[in-house]
Symmetry: C2
Subunit: 510 residues, 2 copies
């Protein structure tokens, strides 16, 4: 008998219910095969059919919102206010991808008419568009039981593209995963599509089986560097390698210039505290390292952050394993040479997976040591940040130039400052550059970029949030000299879907 | 002393000159570091500066065309007519990427203005565009000493994107590589850029060193499955994995329906013969497998192809290693159970790397055997194709459904035929679908797709030819709440470069 999958309440540490069992290799295989078998139906539904499905999915999520939020809160301890927001974000995201489908530009329709006089050689009629890759595996994230899990951006964008999805539920919120999957499947059926466009599997081994399964054509992953890299390696080692879009961990550096500290030390300290402790520090965009000028108003930012950290009131972390990882990581960092524990909140008592916030400080020159740097430049998931105090700009630049890739990089500068060099260094190491702001909070929009150089993404060319997230699941196909009766609707000369397209080199809007 | 790199004449098999030496690890390192050091200059030149450079590169190639074609012919034996065409294609391609830069849509500029009332949460100002990845390694192909080598599409698209390139010269044409690199470097200097935007290394070990080098941010490769997969594996196994765009081998299936055979058996046979022997069969798009109806007019196609094959006059293959691989592959296939050698051209005499054309035939049911299928579904580089005779449509579909990924798939149908099922099966296995035509010959255009499911590409989401080839070398970055003084020109509200862009969800043309 395979092990059971239990739903645990992080506030008590107790098992509330048995939700499912871990999937056997045969069950994973069956789930993938059925996903492959419905792929043509999802493709044939076209952008309009899928837009209808996504909007129904958003409606179903909203209708079942009370119960979903209640379950998600019981399994994550993130609080109903945050989770209501996450639910709204998830249904908004589904509707946004419906709008992306209505818009149609994502298909990238490009037509070159035959030209016997073309240089350097006569050219046949060529018509290119993007088509879905096929079934996609998605690994739900621990820290977003909704917006980066079953009803999240990876699933929404993959379904929008026409790819069936098999989700590997995160063990921290299996009941929420089940309930959300049921809502989305009701919507699929409501839109005249099979419920199997969305599969759900449980269990760590099932995740690896999924990545190796021949029917799976791409993977979306949000999670840890260790687990994500192992799955990435599996995806690359397949007989037919597949794209693996993983978000593995991000330091999200924040640079505060001397001028910024002089202008608004207290405001920066207050907002940074809120940002690094938000959701118990369990954000992929948590600011994990902050560069402050040593002395002067930098000290005021530091002291004010220390006071705030001591007053922090913790809530439970998502899972026992996550809290254990946080404690271990916080202790390893505190013991590094040159690192001071500037502040720590009260060690919480009582049941549940509670954890203190911790503020560390280190002079920038200590990071010249490779071992110190390697540890401090590694993400520590939880309510901890490291203040790196730099003596001068040269030291700041030298240290920043060694930062690994991150999802974001933030700069706090003075009102008239133009810190070009530091911005240049940071933008080479991040996917989103935040000016005088904080990295937590990711807008779902057309211009969103949520992905950056490794290890923040396994493929920095992609985003997992925003309209462009759909591009990950599509590949181009060109039809050469093909008569109208054999062309898909999107490539017909008459443009029945009224798509924006490029014809003979010129962009056209319908 | 490192081994020398020799230029060999395939028509005589003799060494003509020593061109260079194989690069040591230190020399590869120095080449990559200097490429990284000039990356900011190439980026800062902007689309206009790089368009100017690409046009100068095309001019320099054209000016030196006589000497380049002479060298390329001496090293490849492909003939000056073909090589003049390849040169024209290469300079056209450089100019086309200049046009892509002028157009500017490739930057994907997307702006969402701040919106405090946005659902589901207030939104900051977000501005997203694509930026170059950094230095790119390109592996020149054996079979296109120009258009897929130093002055080829990978190099042109990478330089266009703003990425410096280090080319690993193919050992079959090192002198051509050197001469072309000199022409392109003269143009770079003419455009006010450092000649180091294009590096060139020689030697197999140097290729592996290149893929592993931390400064290299992506790889373009055209070559064999074995060599390409080994390099792909290296790229994935790096501490920071990088995108690897490899074209590793393609079967390029052709399906001839009974109606097509009945309508135009002789024409199909003549054109297929020309396609599979073109360039001594040394094309990535060579039709390597042809599905013919057994009996009836299918037999006429077969017999006519056999006659043509016997009359084929061979020229030299590119290199001794390539001819040896062809002979070995042709023999392994001929000895498979059920496979007949339908025709073979005269075994050529004389010096040089000559090789006969070979036409194989096999009944489709023999491909039920996994070992037979595995061998016949593997590319055999050279003037050989396999006729698979199918008894009925069911047998055709069952066999086609097991084909691996290819760059292309071609269908020959009757004038009124609508073979939807076969086209559906083929388009799942190819990047370009050719109707009543032949796969050799790839137009360089906006709608070009030259890439398909594995193993024809390591990433089916990409193309190595055509305007979209530039997408491989770019990653997105978003600027959040950033004042005009810190924004790049492409993201300025006033749109000084007059770029097409998406603003608040709506596509705009300047």
């Amino acid at each position: 008998m395979s092990p059971t999958v239990e739903s645990i309440d992080p506030r008590t540490g107790k098992v509330v219910e048995v939700v499912a069992h871990e999937f056997s290799p045969d069950e994973v295989d069956a789930t993938c095969e059925v996903a492959a078998s419905v792929a043509p139906l999802l493709d044939e539904a076209g952008p309009r059919g899928r837009a209808r499905m996504l909007r129904l999915m958003a409606d179903e999520l909203d209708s079942d919102g009370d119960k979903i939020v209640e379950l998600a809160d019981r399994e994550s301890a993130l609080g109903t206010t945050r989770l209501r927001g996450e639910l709204a974000r998830s249904s908004f995201q589904l509707r946004m991808f419906a709008a992306v489908l209505d818009d149609g530009a994502y298909l990238n329709v490009t037509i070159d008419h035959a030209d016997p006089d073309a240089a350097p050689a006569p050219r046949p009629d060529l018509r290119r568009m993007l088509v879905p890759l096929g079934p996609v595996a998605v690994f739900g994230a621990s820290n977003f039981p909704l917006a980066f899990s079953v009803p999240g951006g990876d699933v929404a964008s993959a379904l929008a593209s026409g790819c069936p999805v098999v989700v590997k539920a995160h063990p921290a919120h299996p009941a929420t995963a089940q309930r959300c999957a049921e809502a989305l499947r009701r919507a699929a059926v409501g839109a005249g599509l099979p419920l199997e466009v969305l599969g759900l599997v449980h269990g760590g081994a099932a995740g690896a089986d999924l990545v190796r399964h021949p029917a799976i054509r791409a993977v979306g992953f949000t999670g840890s560097l260790l687990g994500g890299r192992a799955l990435f390696d599996l995806a690359c080692a397949r007989p037919e390698p597949i794209p693996f879009f993983g978000e593995l961990g991000s330091l999200n550096p924040v640079v505060v210039t001397a001028a910024a500290a002089a202008e608004r030390a207290d405001a920066i300290a207050a907002d940074l505290l809120a940002s690094f402790t938000n959701g118990v520090g369990q954000f992929c965009t948590k600011p994990g390292i902050v560069f402050l000028p040593a002395g002067g108003q930098g000290r005021r930012v530091r002291d004010s952050l220390a006071t705030g950290t001591r007053e922090y009131q913790p809530t439970a972390m998502l899972a026992e394993r996550i809290r254990a990882g946080y404690w271990a990581g916080a202790d390893v960092r505190a013991q590094l040479p040159g690192v001071d524990v500037l502040a720590e909140s009260a060690v919480p008592e009582g049941t549940g997976f509670l954890a203190p916030a911790r503020l560390l400080g280190v002079p920038a020159h200590e990071l010249r040591d490779e071992a110190v740097r390697a540890t401090l430049f590694d993400e520590c998931f939880g309510p901890l940040t490291v203040l790196v105090e730099y003596a001068d700009e040269a030291e700041l630049l030298a240290t920043v130039a060694q930062l690994p890739g991150s999802l974001t990089a933030s700069v706090h500068a003075g009102a008239d400052e133009t810190p070009t060099v530091i911005v240049d260094l940071l933008r080479q190491r991040a996917g989103r550059l935040v000016w005088n702001g904080y990295p937590t909070g990711v807008a779902v929009a057309w211009a969103t970029q949520h992905g950056g150089p490794y290890p923040s993404s396994t493929d920095s060319r992609s985003t997992s949030v925003g309209a462009a997230a759909i591009e990950r699941w599509l590949r181009p196909i060109a039809y050469q000299s093909t008569p109208a009766r054999m062309l898909p609707d999107a490539l017909q000369e008459s443009n029945p879907w009224r798509l924006p397209r490029r014809v003979d080199g010129a962009q056209q809007r319908p």
